[in-house]
């Protein structure tokens, strides 16, 4: 792969979902790239097609219920044209950090088993003990305390924030060049969100991986992104650097998204409810500017 080939090169991607109400074009021709060490964010409201884009890129949408067209090149291999290429890059070139950490690990297997399996998929030559040592080290890197004893614990014995760290460790086990983070913090508490984002940015700094971030949260987007694509009804309505989008939004839709960000202040019962779905980003923004 040439040095200037993007890690992820999406061209005119369309995704049609077959639903009970007929065929829905969830993604309607999006084009973007993610390069090494870069974070590109797709932002939009629920149903804008951002998660469908992410799952489509990884070809993780249910076979037979989703029809993809256009091209998605991951490290030069087109996974739309060739499903085998998707299988080949998953867990090697690209990893996923899922939306809801509470349901993303098999509840009947220990986290050590699942993390160990991920390591041994990437490095089949590792013995169980070696995989364990490596896994414990990875858990330490994502700041899980007492990783040796936690290795044998089950997912239900962890909090959401800890599970998301474990999932980040599992994604890192693949030693990927590209991370797809599908709303990695939206199921977490405000304080935990900040620490998970910190961790992701720190890892990116150390490893130089590219990241495709999906979020509905402009605070998160501003904090982590190099470039932002604002998505609505399956299309990009506005694209630009994080600064451009946040400081000088051109589209009314983007301005609405910005206006939806609640301000940190005194509780006002009539106005809005600080702390609902979107009301947890202010501390992060402060963290970014301090």
């Amino acid at each position: 792969m040439a040095k200037d080939t993007p890690l992820l090169d999406v061209a005119d991607l369309q995704v049609e979902l077959i639903t009970g109400q007929g065929v829905v074009r969830a993604v309607d021709g999006v084009t973007f790239t993610v390069r090494r060490g870069e974070t590109v964010t797709l932002i939009g409201e629920s149903g804008s097609g951002k998660s469908t884009t992410a799952m489509g890129v990884l070809r993780l949408l249910p076979e037979g219920l989703a029809v993809l067209s256009g091209s998605v090149r991951i490290a030069g291999r087109d996974v739309v044209a060739d499903p085998d290429a998707a299988r080949a890059v998953r867990g090697r070139t690209v990893s996923l950090i899922p939306q809801d950490p509470m349901t993303a690990l098999s509840p009947v297997h220990t986290i050590g088993r699942q993390l160990g399996d991920a390591l041994r998929l990437r490095h089949p030559e590792l013995t169980r003990t070696e995989a364990r040592d490596k896994g414990v080290e990875l858990l330490g890197r994502v700041r899980i305390s007492e990783p040796e004893t936690r290795w044998k614990a089950y997912p239900h014995q962890f909090s959401g924030g800890m599970l998301q760290r474990i999932l980040i460790a599992t994604a890192l086990a693949a030693e990927p060049e590209l991370l797809v983070a599908d709303e990695p913090t939206s199921a977490l508490d405000a304080t935990v969100q900040a620490s998970v984002l910190d961790l992701l940015m720190e890892l990116q700094e150390h490893t130089g991986i590219g990241m495709l971030m999906i979020t509905h949260d402009l605070g998160v987007a501003r904090l982590v992104s190099d470039r932002i694509h604002v998505m609505k009804d399956g299309r990009f309505v506005e694209s630009g650097s994080a600064e451009e989008i946040v400081e000088r939004p051109a589209e009314p839709y983007t301005r609405e998204l910005l206006a939806a960000v609640p301000r940190l202040g005194t509780w006002d019962e009539d106005e809005s409810s600080y702390g609902d779905g979107d009301g947890r980003i202010e501390p992060l923004v402060q963290g970014a500017t301090s």
Binding site: L60, R90, L105, P107, V108, H156, A171, A173
Partner: protein, 309 residues
């Protein structure tokens, strides 16, 4: 854990005792007279009265029940009227045959229905899945005597490769096993199909797929392990039912199990034999249920005995 076990065993003993009491009363309240079933057709009413006295049936019901409970706690379930030997021994002689057939039928059911259900889940809503569904339901819908007789006709008469009846060699086990298993296949395979469809669509399978886990590992290791609790429950329930004997199949194949014994005991109003059969089969069924319950925390770490007890 020991407290939990002690409590469960206590509950089980109580259940067996109440079941026995119910059966004791029901057989005596039901029409029919053991004495006339036992005596020669030429017996006079004086003969019948003598037989009743000999069996202790001339006593009032509560006195009979008192003797029954007293003897029960010494492990004596009375003497079978028709076999003239201890009723419990008669039943225990038959149990190995019933257990053999039940184990073999459940094993075959599991070996066929689980892969079939998995296959159906992976080909959900296709013509082939529909075909598999129709076939298994047809199997379940056929009366067992008919399935049995058809299998006998084909494999013991037209193409005589298997023995028609009795248990003289292991090949005698094949046809009864198949007959019983055919009845269970639809239930178990459809349960596996439903559980696997849910598991394969779940988030943890998608996430595991995203990290490169192979489709076969996703199916057999992730999805099936997460379907094991309902599967083991269903198999345990079916197994417990089979331990009570499969009357029709035993009669068709001349299988010397408990099922055919029950029929004979009921026909002759052989009260002690009926009670001994119920004691043994109820105890086994409850034991299987207990083992299934004890397996849950092994299959799913979220089931904690500490909280349940």
């Amino acid at each position: 854990m020991p407290t939990y076990l002690a409590r469960r065993i206590g509950q089980s003993l109580l259940t067996v005792f109440l079941t026995l009491t119910t059966v004791f009363l029901l057989v005596r309240l039901a029409p029919g007279d053991p004495a006339s079933a036992y005596a020669a057709p030429s017996a006079t009413s004086a003969d019948l009265a003598r037989i009743r006295e000999q069996f202790g049936l001339d006593e009032p019901l509560f006195v009979q029940y008192g003797y029954f409970v007293r003897d029960l706690f010494t492990g004596d379930l009375g003497t079978s009227y028709s076999f003239h030997s201890p009723a419990l021994d008669v039943v225990l002689d038959r149990m190995p045959y019933t257990i053999t057939l039940a184990v073999s039928a459940i094993a075959v059911t599991t070996l066929v229905a689980v892969p079939l259900g998995v296959w159906m889940a992976r080909r959900a809503d296709t013509r082939r899945e529909l075909g598999a569904n129709v076939l298994t339901i047809a199997g379940q819908s056929m009366p067992d005597f008919w399935t049995g007789v058809m299998l006998l006709t084909v494999f013991a008469v037209l193409v005589p490769v298997l023995p028609a009846s009795g248990f003289t060699s292991w090949s005698g086990l094949v046809l009864p096993t198949v007959t019983v298993a055919v009845l269970q296949l639809a239930l178990i395979s459809r349960l596996v199909r439903r559980e696997m469809s849910t598991a394969l669509a779940s988030s943890y399978v998608t996430v595991a797929r995203s990290r490169g886990v192979s489709e076969s590992a996703l199916t057999w290791r992730y999805a099936l392990a997460n379907s094991s609790v309902p599967l083991v429950t269903a198999l345990g329930t079916r197994f417990a039912a089979l331990l009570n004997g499969v009357v029709v199949v035993e009669v068709v194949f001349g299988w010397p199990g408990v099922g055919s014994l029950v029929v004979r005991a009921l026909e002759t109003r052989d009260y002690p034999l009926i009670q001994a059969t119920v004691l043994v089969t109820a105890t086994l069924a409850i034991l299987v249920q207990l083992l299934v319950d004890l397996a849950y925390p092994l299959l799913d770490p979220r089931v904690r005995l500490g909280k349940a007890a």
